[in-house]
């Protein structure tokens, strides 16, 4: 029986899962939409992964979680490692590309730049609390133009004369786009212009002032868009590498971290049949009204968080009995 590790990356838009062996080889992988319900998404994910893993050959001994729902899913799956997505992405990428210097990452609602020197993260930046220039912007614009997100990139490549679209703010970009469309600009030009706008926005707002050095690796959901890749290559004047598993890099990274942690906890795919529930409680201890999240497994409280002080902690215990 060989040891295997499960990494789960639960983002705002998509949920990714991989199972790797001790040589970082991917045994199983899956990518699906979160649809606003991380627990349900993870259950669907496990169902799919369950079929791909040969249970006679591999035994999952550790789980790692990352992404914005890492804490919740970490509790549900009893993870050995719960890590932020920046570290997870960096670990994943540097494992496969040890000489990488710059990592671009554009996800559903955040984007980040990670600078690496000699295999070590030396600096990073993340977008502020605005979704400009991220995947959700592209997907909402493609819906407006009546194009599938998957067609977006190839269509952009056919453009010879990309339209200029204001990139600073999604609200401005959107009105600019509508205006240009009504003026009679071709669809492929507008699409190519949008790809350029995403890149300009990224370079101006996320990586501002940071020194971008080659080799560059680009990942996150948006890295599947060839139009954006091309726009990046033109703006940085160098090749931009996109791994075939670029969308899974966070999950791979956290699986590697789970392996490296040397901590082991038994894991079974049967967790998909257990009923998990969350409940938000407003603490009335003071005017802060902390929202305390309680997680229940089959009706039993397994964890809770969100309280800023001890008063909130006492309240959880009282709630433990009833649900």
């Amino acid at each position: 029986m060989k040891k295997a590790y499960l990494g789960v990356d639960i983002g705002s838009i998509s949920t990714k899962g991989v199972v790797i062996d001790k040589h970082n080889k991917i045994i199983a992988s899956e990518y699906l939409w979160t649809e606003g319900n991380p627990i349900k998404a993870v259950k669907r994910l496990l169902k799919k992964l369950d079929k791909q893993v040969d249970k006679d050959e591999y035994n999952i001994v550790g789980v790692g979680t990352t992404g914005s729902a890492r804490k919740l899913i970490g509790v549900v799956l009893d993870a050995v490692v719960v890590k932020n997505e920046i570290t997870a992405h960096a670990v994943g990428t540097t494992t496969f590309y040890p000489d990488v210097r710059t990592i671009f990452e554009i996800g559903g609602q955040d984007s980040k730049i990670i600078l690496v020197d000699d295999g070590i993260v030396v600096d990073y930046a993340m977008n502020t609390l605005c979704a400009a220039g991220t995947g959700s912007f592209l997907s909402s614009q493609s819906a407006r133009l009546g194009i599938e997100v998957e067609e977006f990139g190839p269509l952009a490549l056919t453009s010879k004369n990309p339209t200029n679209i204001a990139a600073r703010c999604t609200v401005f970009a959107e009105s600019d786009l509508v205006h240009k469309a009504q003026m009679g600009h071709k669809k492929e030009d507008i699409v190519a212009g949008l790809c350029k706008a995403v890149v300009t926005n990224y370079l101006n707002n996320v990586s501002k002032g940071k020194r971008i050095a080659a080799p560059i690796v680009f990942q996150g959901g948006v890295s599947k868009n060839v139009g954006v890749i091309k726009a990046f290559e033109e703006a940085c004047e160098c090749a931009v590498t996109v791994d075939p598993n670029s969308h899974l890099m966070g999950a791979i990274g956290v699986a590697i971290l789970a392996r490296k942690s040397k901590k082991e906890k038994p894991f079974s795919f049967s967790v998909q049949d257990i009923n998990f529930q969350t409940k938000g409680i407003d603490c009335n201890g003071c005017a802060n009204h902390c929202e305390i999240i309680c997680v229940y497994r089959d009706g039993e409280l397994i964890d809770s968080w969100g309280n800023r002080c001890e008063r909130g902690a006492i309240k959880q215990k009282r709630n433990k009995v009833k649900i």
Partner: protein, 355 residues
């Protein structure tokens, strides 16, 4: 005659020396506003212009909560940025809301000059004498100095105490006693006693701990609620936190000419408010082997925005990572935590590598 109740918005623990000074120079009662909570920020934001900086909103929230608790006199300081105009605007907003109160606004005078304070305060207390004011200010300045020194010590050691919470509990008790101080002698006594007790608290600091510097805009740095208690988070992760910005360093013992000289590699003139101090501190931290710098400001703070590109130069010159935060009235913690965690991982890995 009923004694009037005076109040000043929260900023860190400085309500204590302010209470002492005001009690000594005015014949009135001091009302400490209720502690800042989410609700303070909510009501403050509700009645503030949307694009004004977060400190304005916090202050307004504190005023309203103080008035609701029975305060009838409010104070606002002047400042070296937009803060100078805030008093006027606060007063107008509160009057429009229908509150009745006396408003002492230092926006039009220099609050750092004792003569200006005397002129202003004489209006509200005709019995005030120069001697009485001088005595009160001396006690106030000394108390702030004492508090700042103790807080510096706590920041650097609280993450490593043997029994979590000891230093904080001691300091809370000390603040309670400081509130009752009315003479220089009792201040000295309290200081001596608590300093002794704090020195006795067992600290298990490793030989080479992770050290992080905390710089940025005045209010956001000084009021822990407005920076989402970042210093506490850092301490919990066993990090030494150094912060030079406090009232004594920026008002009492600040020499602008000296700072200009110190930062001349990066700037030629003062960019207003704490911008220059931020650069000076950041360079000092970079030179003294710190592992990272955290820069905080309220959204739209112009002096600090001007400082950021210069900070980026320091970051590159000294190879020190800087994490930037810009706060407004959002209260979601998860984004902040993700960035802090990643920052922590990064500086830890960098440190490992250096070994």
């Amino acid at each position: 005659m009923k004694k009037s109740k005076i109040s000043f918005p929260h900023m860190g623990n400085y309500c204590v020396p302010i209470e002492v000074v005001l009690s000594l120079i005015l014949d009135c009662e001091y009302l400490t506003p209720p502690p800042i909570t989410k609700k303070t920020l909510e009501i403050g934001s509700k009645y503030s212009p949307d694009f004004v900086c977060a400190p304005f909103k916090y202050n307004l929230g504190c005023y309203i909560e103080a008035l609701e608790n029975g305060a009838d006199t409010l104070i606002q300081t002047g400042g070296v940025c937009r803060l100078s105009y805030y008093g006027e605007l606060h007063e107008q907003i509160l009057r429009d809301l229908g509150y009745e109160f006396t408003f002492i606004n230092f926006g039009d005078s220099e609050i750092t000059k004792p003569t200006a304070i005397y002129e202003k305060m004489k209006k509200y207390n005709p019995k005030l004498t120069v001697k009485r004011l001088a005595r009160a200010l001396m006690i106030g300045v000394r108390m702030i100095d004492i508090m700042d020194k103790i807080e510096d010590y706590i920041r650097e050691n609280v993450g490593f105490e043997e029994e979590e919470g000891t230093l904080e509990n001691l300091y809370d008790a000390m603040l309670k006693e400081l509130r009752t101080v009315r003479s220089y002698k009792s201040l000295k006594k309290i200081n001596k006693r608590y300093k002794k007790m704090m020195k006795k608290v067992k600290i298990n600091k490793p030989k080479n701990p992770i050290k992080v510097g905390f710089v940025g805009e005045y209010y956001t740095t000084l009021e822990p609620f407005s920076n989402h208690f970042i210093e506490k988070w850092l301490a919990k992760h066993e990090i030494v936190v150094t912060r030079k910005l406090n009232i004594s360093n920026t008002i009492f013992f600040r020499n602008p000419k000296n700072i200009v000289k110190k930062v001349k590699k990066y700037m030629k003139y003062d960019i207003g408010a704490t911008g220059m101090d931020t650069i000076k501190e950041a360079e000092w931290l970079a030179k003294h082997g710190y592992d990272g710098i955290i820069h905080v400001k309220s959204f739209g703070c112009t002096p600090e925005m001007d400082a950021m590109p210069i900070l980026e130069n320091i970051s590159q010159d000294y190879h020190i990572p800087i994490l930037y935060f810009s706060f407004d009235s959002q209260t979601s913690e998860i984004g902040i935590e993700t960035r802090l965690e990643a920052f922590y991982d990064m500086i830890e890995m960098r440190k490992e590598k250096k070994k």
